[in-house]
């Protein structure tokens, strides 16, 4: 089958690829473009490990066809650190021991980032709700919730 072109920005950089029609965004990002930060856990929409931000909204890249993202702005966890300095969420995840095997972490961070972008000072319930589509088999969730709350506090301190 003829390949089709797709073009979008990934973490601010223009990307263009030829893909097979019907390729998922997860597959395109990991195996074509080489951004392996979104993880393929279930390919069914249930684990959230493949979460990315498309035009400001949290989406599951395993259920999104890459060609529907033409012209979109896509953010993944690999785009968060700036010049070797970790994003406050990444820092907080490390400090709070909110990442163990690390498989869920990029998805958790994407979900948390969308939350903090819209709600800079979330309640605990809002954090739980925001992470409710993401499964973690290691941490028991509590360190992750604490990390997100800590990142929110450090953001507001930096802004003050």
């Amino acid at each position: 089958m003829a390949k089709i072109p797709v073009q979008f920005t990934l973490n601010g950089a223009e990307k263009a690829e030829f893909i097979d029609s019907g390729t998922t965004l997860l597959h395109a990002l990991r195996d074509k473009i080489g951004d392996t930060s979104p993880k393929g856990g279930c390919h069914q929409g249930t684990c959230g490990a493949c979460s990315v931000i498309i035009d400001g909204e949290l989406r599951l890249s395993c259920l999104t066809l890459a060609e529907t993202c033409n012209g979109a702005a896509i953010t993944t966890t690999s785009g968060l650190s700036q010049g070797g300095v970790l994003h406050p969420l990444q820092r907080a995840f490390l400090d709070a021991f909110a990442t163990q095997c690390g498989f869920c972490t990029p998805g958790m961070i994407m979900a948390a980032k969308v939350l903090l972008d819209h709600t800079p000072d979330p309640s605990r319930d809002e954090v739980v709700e925001a992470l409710s589509g993401n499964i973690c088999r290691c941490t028991g969730y509590e360190p992750i919730i604490q990390a997100v709350l800590t990142a929110a506090r450090s953001n507001s301190q930096n802004a003050a």
């Binding site: 089958m1 097979d20 029609s21 019907g22 998922t24 390919h43 069914q44 929409g45 959230g48 979460s51 909204e57 949290l58 989406r59 599951l60 395993c62 259920l63 999104t64 066809l65 060609e67 529907t68 979900a111 969308v114 739980v128 709700e129 925001a130 409710s132 589509g133 993401n134």
Partner: protein, 263 residues
């Protein structure tokens, strides 16, 4: 097998393309792409339409029309659709709600279809290019529908929409069951009209007709609703799945219906 996507700017052209064998419409893809990832080879070509009307919400007075491509997140966040927010938020987690469309929810098999339960209680009208159908008729024959649903329309209920979803995992979890009710009460407090819709109590959302009838002329008190609860499970054939058995769903239905009616 490779899956190909064809995009059309009009519903008309997309409907024409859907006549070919092996094609399926692509809404948000949360069920159809998931199916492909799981190895469903019955679909070889996905069709979608980007016609703007599919993404429009019009609210004029109490009359609402929602384009089929609108997502649960868009509905949950719409200032004029507060009555539906609870039902829209009942679907999946945040990422699913950013993707899951109204159109796709109409076709979602149990244990899914929570938003459709609300639409059924609202007696919504389902529109395709071929015309309009009451949602109950539409749902009864949905497997033989090959036309793109363009929008759903309904009147916002004066006394609000009651909605409840029971799930084991909070805040997000698949339904044990969901219930939506639109009630009207006479000045003396007796029920003058009742529309009650149930999710997971059959392979698709259904109306609780016996309970609706038993509520008429009754007050919303424990005694008043007792006859309705006694017949709540009439005509149900719930699914048995890893969330709950059919037996369990039937057992707990009257309890949750009672809570919704007394709330």
């Amino acid at each position: 097998m490779a899956l190909a996507l064809q995009t059309f700017s009009t519903v008309k052209d997309a409907n024409a393309a859907l006549k070919a064998a092996g094609t399926r419409y692509l809404g948000g893809g949360t069920l159809v792409v998931r199916g492909a990832n799981e190895g469903d080879v019955s679909v070889s070509s996905l069709i979608r339409s980007t016609e703007p009307a599919l993404s429009a919400i019009t609210v004029s007075g109490d009359n609402v029309r929602i384009g089929a491509s609108l997502t649960m997140a868009a509905i949950a966040g719409h200032p004029n659709l507060v009555a539906l927010a609870r039902a829209a938020r009942a679907v999946g987690g945040p990422a699913i709600r950013n993707m899951a469309t109204v159109g796709g929810n109409l076709f979602a098999p149990a244990p899914y279809g929570d938003f459709t339960v609300a639409l059924l209680a609202l007696d919504a009208i389902v529109s395709t290019e071929g015309g309009e159908k009451p949602i109950e008729t539409f749902l009864a024959k949905r497997q033989s529908n090959h036309a793109i649903v363009t929008e759903v329309g309904f009147t916002l209920p004066a006394e609000g929409l009651r909605f409840l979803k029971v799930s084991r995992v909070k805040p997000k979890g698949v339904s044990v069951l969901s219930i939506a009710a639109v009630l009207e009460q006479a000045p003396d407090g007796t029920v003058s009209s009742a529309h009650i819709a149930l999710g997971c109590m059959a392979d698709r959302p259904m109306r609780a007709k016996a309970a609706e009838e038993a509520l008429l002329g009754r007050k919303l008190t424990s005694d008043g609703i007792a006859p309705a609860l006694a017949v709540a499970s009439d005509g149900t054939s719930p699914v048995t799945d890893p969330i709950a058995s059919a037996w369990y769903r039937n057992e707990v239905l009257p309890v949750h219906l009672g809570r919704l009616l007394l709330a």
